[in-house]
Symmetry: D3
Subunit: 258 residues, 6 copies
């Protein structure tokens, strides 16, 4: 499977990314048919673990969505294991310094760039005929989350680490680390200024920037700002949003009988 | 846990029922907080089996939703096992004759009414202090699905079986059995006439009627018709509906960049 | 694995049987080391299904306990599948007539005695070197539950079915079916008289009788009555009994501080 | 997904069918890349249940193998549930009479041919754009197992039931039912004569015949006899065969050091 | 859900804590009804992992027991993930220095106190209406295990780390690290002296001390010593203790027939 | 369970080791009967996690194979948890320095040698009557993987760490780290020279060396070189090799009909 995210970015397009927190291959299979370009299994804050991620990747495999994962931590054993299962990119939390970024990339890349261990038991099934290892360093994406003031302060050093494909901005954590309420779809000028700065620094290096949003409207606006990967809520909250709305519609429409 | 569905029906209210096909305790836990009165784990057409149903019931237990299940078939071993796990009602497919209905009720009721085997290992945890067995025959609901022309023809005999608490109308199967396309939210006069007939026969016996709908609008209308339990789509389709809509919103709002 | 239950019975000993309702291979592995002669995975009223039963059988395999299962119903597909997974005996509910008993045995025995389908994928791993199929009809035990007044009335016909190895008396269901409260460790003369009758009819045919008990004291007494397989509560209730007792001990011993 | 098995058969080709007994989506994913035309999840004698079957179907979806299932019994609730999960054909045991065959087909086909309940929650994802229900009766295959002398005696009546797509011969059960040892790759003339008879009767009606084999050599021979679907052992036995051979090779090659 | 452990401690009461090693939501649900104030899912030495912990938390949610977890290691990704799943406190092994304690607290607390990442996907469902994040730092408890001589030597520095709610003493590991046999319910004066010292240092800072015990008697005595959280064995050992005792009772009571 | 690997090595024999990547207790149970001396559950590159490893260990317990595990990383919490579940040895990746080796051994050994935490919940079931802890440091094996040029350069320091039982050579990673293609069954003189050096240094210290191979032929040759633990491919690749071969045999044997 070629990495469709890379192709879209190369063509100047923005990537519409789905986000999974329900630990079920079936909900992944459903989400994979909703029009997303890529789908991220969230092991950090989602209810996922390794096995549920594998089931999601298997269930998504027949569909044209690039499989990504957010891991819990910048830990080399896990990073390799997630890639071996077929992730075409990893979104990694708490990359705050050049050292963090270098360790992240090193764990994700085969020699000579890095120290990833060889054994892509599932991933190799879907690599090119010439062999997964020959293209993996190019095709799998290292995407650090920029979610603290420290990371913003160190952003140049982080972006200069060879092998960083993009960044993913976590607005609620970023706000939190600055003493602000942890919310998405931020409108505070001081945060928007940071977004602007991050986008410029990324653009200069041909590195894409992604962002997590709470609404489609803000996601569209983020694309207009220059973000090239947007996620909106997650599978569970989408379900809850629709369910809550239908319940209200029925209760209202039945004039209080329900 | 008292059966809230029974209380609502006794008060003349309609029951807003959620519907689960994703085999995950977590999605059940999310759905349980969306405002439904009851939630049905669909083992027949959903991706559920016994273990995923138990996990859903456990995850829903802290929330004010009455746990129901739809089984795959009118088979006594399964009916008892589902009740033992804590279901407060069973929606059972393919009840087409008086004999079907009698077998269904008999398998679900303890002696002397029926032949349900004793051993409510999980259900008894949530029964009254006086003991689950003493009230189970009253508190757990037998709800046959009326989904074939045969069942409509036999409706009086079915409804006259002692212990039938309500019926659940499956519009798509009913249409299918009559040579019509299998769709929900039916507008065809010949089907609406059947609904009307079923509702009258139920009302005469103080038996409630439920129906599966594809939209909140139709569910509200069904309540106006006289239905007293309405379900709309299911967890997966609600998630897909919202996700598809957000993707479209982003793609449109970003002027084609995404 | 030879069937140790058969050996014990042939030697005139009574079988101390453990009972599993927690769907976990690990709790089975723990129970397998508590001194039982056999252990029954309860799929009917326990929280078990096929996969959890297999895990229990695997986890018990290294221990000298004969693996048994109680199924949900006298259904041939399930009976064969449970035997194929390695059960050395099946306790089957609701055997009330000669026809029930004949169907039960037929589904459990290979030709020419019965119609069990060939394919003991896991069971054959633990059969004799000469092949599982050659001895399975002898080594795997058909044990109907006698739990209704109808079954008691038909007991001669049931016991006369060739291939019935023993019966298992369900005192609470038996009482229930006679209009009495569904309890174990029954002292009512009318029930004890039935026990006596069943024991005599079994003894005459060299068929063993088992019984489910709520206490070790009653189990010992049941053995004195003539029962040759006794089970006491189940894994979950044993755990709860001990936990409740320890909590009370601590609260009392700490003079109300806890 | 179009049913590739149907296409191959229509073209006069034989179908090489894989057989799964290990309850793992990953082993299914591996088998799906070994060159088979179809793969059958064996719920009857394999270690599979519903959930493991779904995971196998999901893991096989991206690969050009048609998903089939063997069920435990001719039970309508299960048959529908297996089809709803995406099976493109069902191999059903113990079809011995016209009544068995008619019940089997009826449970698998939508009205007007049969009584399958509408709700292809997963299957519909992979149906044609025009809707799964419109073509399901044609595209999903009913394949009774012929495994008893009774079935052979009733073969004309069974094959005449409208909707039978093929038969699957179980040589070991067939032999067993005739008082012979339950083995595959049979050479006994009396069995080969039956094969011949079955093949002729199938050919006359344009119904295909499949057979389970223990070796590739016999499978090739079976195709020469006229069988058009062959399976060889199963995933677990293939693994064991290779592992046992490698262990022997190493022990021999190391001159007894290993 | 308010943290009941905090309330009990504030009222001067001791907390009776249950301990889970069986990876099953059902055994958790049973234990949750045995009278404990809190229940700890043991991921370190128990058979639990993340998914089984979530199932236990879901199954305990309807019961008045505060959910706690023991993690395998002081690793920030895991600590956050466990809290996100709804743990109201974490018992963390191998906190031997001020640095260990500071890292532990930092990973568990939101800014500004710490660096916990925002995303309490399940935990927020059960937080106050005002939002989980607003009270989480106060309501979720950091409980280091004191289990080595090094930790005892550094106890003042550890206890002085802001955010330590209590300590949990591991008597067997503590003894082990001092060259003594690894046992619970220790009577050795040198260990009891350490307990006394730890209790005094905790009391001075209004920090509670907990301890793992092998018997209810010792637990009561530990409360008398000043411990305010006591655990006795675990679910599996409680089950085994009761089962072993019943088996012995039956064998003895049946005069050797069993 | 005594550690059979130790006995074989002490007797100068080589250990034939099986390798599991399919996350299923059943495939482990099958592999356990193919003649291996030990079987390694591969959590690093295999599809395994903690729970699937435990199921494999349970399913292997009745068979004479020593259970080993390869972990994802040299992380003390995981190392202890894997040993607690019953592993008799751990193969640990990325041991490149004396410090790595010392940390690895320390996490795996109880005091006074190391700092492993006490709580062998499952392992103790299979320890000697005198107690698991008394012999665990001797009976459980620390086996670092030597898979980088750095490790080769530091091999003396690594081997001198007290408690290293053996090494496991990862030829593909070793080659990769030296700028060569990542393949098994290496014939390159520069790699074979390294093997020779490693074998000599191990032999001098009475430490065994193991190696991962792609074929039985190479494994036999590796034993001749002096390796005393050999693994060949893994369960999934063995299955695939056999399946692919059978498919080819059938297609060829049927003259293209299949």
């Amino acid at each position: 499977m070629a990495n469709n995210v890379k192709k879209l970015l190369a063509a100047g397009k923005a990537v519409m990314n789905g986000w999974l927190v329900i630990p079920s291959g079936f909900s992944a299979e459903v989400m994979a048919q909703c029009g997303f370009d890529s789908i991220t299994v969230d092991i950090q804050h989602g209810l996922h673990d390794y096995q549920s991620m594998v089931q999601c990747f298997q269930a998504m495999q027949a569909h044209p969505v690039t499989p990504l994962a957010r891991v819990t931590w910048n830990e080399p054993g896990t990073l390799g294991k997630v890639l071996d299962s077929g992730a075409m990119g990893i979104i990694c939390p708490m990359i705050n310094t050049k050292q963090d970024a270098e360790a992240f990339v090193s764990a994700c890349k085969y020699p000579p760039r890095g120290t990833r261990s060889n054994g892509p038991v599932r991933a190799a099934m879907y690599g090119p005929a010439s062999g997964y290892q020959g293209t993996a360093n190019e095709e799998t994406l290292c995407i650090p989350i920029i979610e603290t003031k420290t990371a913003v302060d160190n952003i140049d050093a982080i972006l200069d680490v060879e092998g960083i494909a993009g960044i993913y901005v976590g607005p609620s954590d970023l706000s939190f680390s600055m003493g602000l309420p942890p919310v998405l779809d931020v409108e505070l000028p001081q945060i928007l200024t940071i977004f602007d700065e991050l986008l410029k620094k990324c653009a200069k290096r041909n590195i894409f920037a992604g962002i997590h949003c709470a609404s489609g409207a803000y996601a569209a606006r983020a694309i207009a700002m220059g973000f090239r990967m947007v996620s909106v809520m997650n599978d569970a909250r989408m379900m809850a949003a629709h369910a809550t709305s239908v319940v209200a519609q029925v209760r209202k429409g039945s004039k209080g009988v329900a």
